[in-house]
């Protein structure tokens, strides 16, 4: 091989020579010499615009990576891809056993099983996106230290994996719906915007936990508890409106805004004709009971009890009406806020993910 003119360090062998100031042909420092020749910092975060462009360029990578991950996820188990469907179904079965049969929480909902299954499947999507998102950066450190690509592709891919699992689960859901006499209507089309918004929300949250999880690995130990608490406050297994009767108004407002229940509510409303009827019936029923004055002539304990029940009806009616009015706004708001803030938050640490 040819040896062109000697270059680089002149003091090759002088291992004990005292370091001199580099001779830089009039350049004050190596950094300025580099930038003077149009070189760029190699570990720098790209500007937001080009970052988004790079990410868009990797859209095929995101989808192929997600598909490959979905495929390889269950290769070691004997039932293979069947687990995509079995896991959420078994989850739903457990909740049915506890909340449907043991506690009898079906309340005003007539078709409890589809109600529960939709809730579990959709909430599971969010839950899994967050859990796997927390490991998206942490668990791919070797990939991050080996290849250059916008790191946000990882949380994106992991959420797409969960979306693909949801699609598999929804084919089972379809069968369950038919079995319970819920047939396709035009309302079913509403599931498309609901899914888009939910996906945006999940990606956003997953980006946030991916950044936190990259630097604080303890997050994945803590997440299961947070997520389970959230599950119980999201009205997946029982109707939120029953709870609203016992809560002060400000707490009901908080429950209205809870993204965990917002998307599940919308999915139920779009897929279940019977649930839409249940809601209408509940609104009329509690509205009537609220407008009926408290019985005359009661005293003491009986009066207090009657008043509490009456207030409960009014609160339930109020909760139904207010959720009806706000649910779409919250769905859109959460999706946009989570996606934009999550993306920005993740992007801000882009150049530091390699360090671990």
């Amino acid at each position: 091989m040819s040896h062109p003119e000697r270059l680089g360090a002149s003091g090759g062998g002088q291992t004990n020579a005292i370091a001199e100031r580099p001779q830089l042909n009039g350049h004050p420092s190596l950094a300025e010499f580099a930038t003077g020749h149009g070189l760029k910092k190699s570990a720098a975060r790209p500007p937001l615009g080009s970052y988004i462009r790079q990410l868009w360029q990797r859209r095929h990578f995101i989808w192929t990576f997600a598909t490959a991950k979905s495929v390889s996820m269950y290769t070691e188990s004997r039932l293979g891809q069947l687990w995509q469907v079995l896991t959420p179904l078994l989850n739903a079965a457990v909740y049915y056993l506890i909340f449907g049969l043991l506690l009898g929480r079906s309340g005003d909902v007539h078709k409890y099983i589809p109600y529960l299954v939709i809730g579990v499947f959709f909430f599971y999507f969010t839950q899994r996106s967050i859990t796997s998102g927390a490991k998206a950066v942490q668990g791919n450190m070797s990939l991050i230290r080996a290849l250059h690509f916008p790191r946000a592709t990882l949380p994106f891919s992991y959420t797409i994996v969960e979306l693909q699992q949801l699609f598999a689960a929804m084919s089972v859901l379809f069968v369950i719906m038919l079995a319970f006499g819920e047939y396709p209507t035009w309302h079913w089309l509403l599931i498309i915007p609901v899914l888009v918004l939910l996906l945006m929300f999940n990606i956003g949250v997953s980006l946030v936990v991916a950044r936190i999880g990259a630097f604080v690995p303890d997050l994945s130990q803590l997440l299961p508890f947070i997520l389970r608490t959230w599950l119980y406050f999201s009205g997946i297994m029982f109707s939120m409106y029953t709870l609203a009767g016992k809560l002060p108004t400000w707490a009901t407002r908080l429950l209205d805004a809870n993204p965990g229940s917002v998307y599940v509510e919308l999915a139920r409303r779009s897929l279940m004709g019977s649930y839409r009827k249940d809601l209408a019936a509940m609104t009329t029923k509690y509205g009537e009971r609220c407008s009926r004055p408290v019985e005359q002539g009661l005293v003491g304990k009986a009066l207090r009890k009657a008043t509490t029940t009456h207030t409960g009806y009014c609160r339930q009616h109020e909760a139904l009406v207010s959720m009806n009015q706000t649910v779409w706004y919250y769905a859109i708001g959460w999706a946009v806020v989570a996606f934009v803030l999550g993306f920005w938050y993740f992007y801000r640490a882009e150049e530091r993910y390699g360090r671990g």
Binding site: M1, L7, T15, A17, F33, R58, F65, L147
Partner: protein, 276 residues
């Protein structure tokens, strides 16, 4: 790459005088400039002592760092300039910071102090590069190319070329990569990386496991890349291939530059130093 690196506290106060000075050659176009680079990274795990809940709790109360988190000061103040058309060999003992240096040039490990400046996007080709072991060779080719930013059409176009260059035995392309021997794995990885033209290609022992025929093929590919006015960095322990493929060699030790010059001089000095 985390093999046998020293802890940070051992480093402070280390003598700096052994570093040779940097001279800039203004006739040639620089492609990589490394300016007083320091790399510190964190490694978790490998804790010593009692690992029970009580000691962990005491540690949290005292606001101490986890004993399982170690800071590794892998590169300690390195400066040099690489020019277009350079093929630079990097030699040194295990744990001297060779792989870390390449990762830093690739922009994968952020610098603690100093900086790395490059034209275009350097690509790193490592021993354990980003391929998914559970997936088939086919899938890995597609994923690797997409991750490098190719479009699906380009991937289709390059696919046959990659398979041919990798030269795997019949049928292996449909097997998951964990069934591959280390040599086959590195051939496929090199084939994928070489399918795209790079401004700066960093090769980290990726050719070590290949057989003679493959090494010839890859040497030709490296020459081709150099002619495209890029630069190639090569980490290898076979000093013969370094002499053969490179026009310049960096010898690094304990994260510092020992020597920078033409292959024969530096390799001879290295052999002399290590055979003592």
């Amino acid at each position: 790459m985390a093999d046998a690196l020293k802890e940070k506290d051992k480093v402070s106060g280390a003598p700096e005088q052994s570093t040779p000075p940097v001279v800039v050659n203004s006739d040639r176009e620089p492609i990589v400039v490394v300016d007083d680079l320091h790399i510190v990274y964190r490694v978790y795990g490998g804790s010593e002592g009692k690992g029970n809940a009580v000691t962990a709790f005491r540690r949290v109360l005292r606001r101490e760092n986890r004993p399982s988190m170690k800071e590794v000061h892998a590169i300690r103040g390195m400066s040099f300039v690489a020019y277009q058309g350079d093929a630079i060999g990097v030699i040194g003992n295990n744990g001297s910071g060779k792989s870390t240096l390449l990762q830093a040039i690739a922009g994968l490990l952020p610098p603690d102090r100093g900086g790395v400046y490059t034209t275009g996007q350097p690509s790193l080709l490592g021993v354990n590069a980003a391929l998914m072991n559970d997936l088939t060779g086919e899938r890995n080719i597609v994923l690797g190319c997409l991750a490098m930013g190719m479009s699906p059409d380009e991937v289709k176009e390059k696919y046959d070329e990659i398979v041919k260059f990798a030269g795997l035995k019949e049928g292996f392309i449909q097997l998951p990569m964990r069934a591959y021997s280390s040599g086959m794995g590195s051939r496929l990885r090199f084939a994928i990386a070489a399918s795209k033209s790079h401004d700066v290609l960093l090769i980290d022992e990726a050719l070590a496991t290949g057989d003679a025929k493959f090494r010839r093929k890859s040497a030709a590919k490296i020459d081709e890349l150099r002619e495209e006015a890029g630069a190639v960095f090569l980490v290898a322990h076979q000093l013969d291939s370094i002499r053969e493929m490179c026009n310049r060699v960096l010898w690094i030790d304990e994260g510092k530059m020992m020597m920078d010059g033409d292959p024969d001089t530096v390799v001879d000095a290295y052999i002399e130093a290590t055979s003592k």
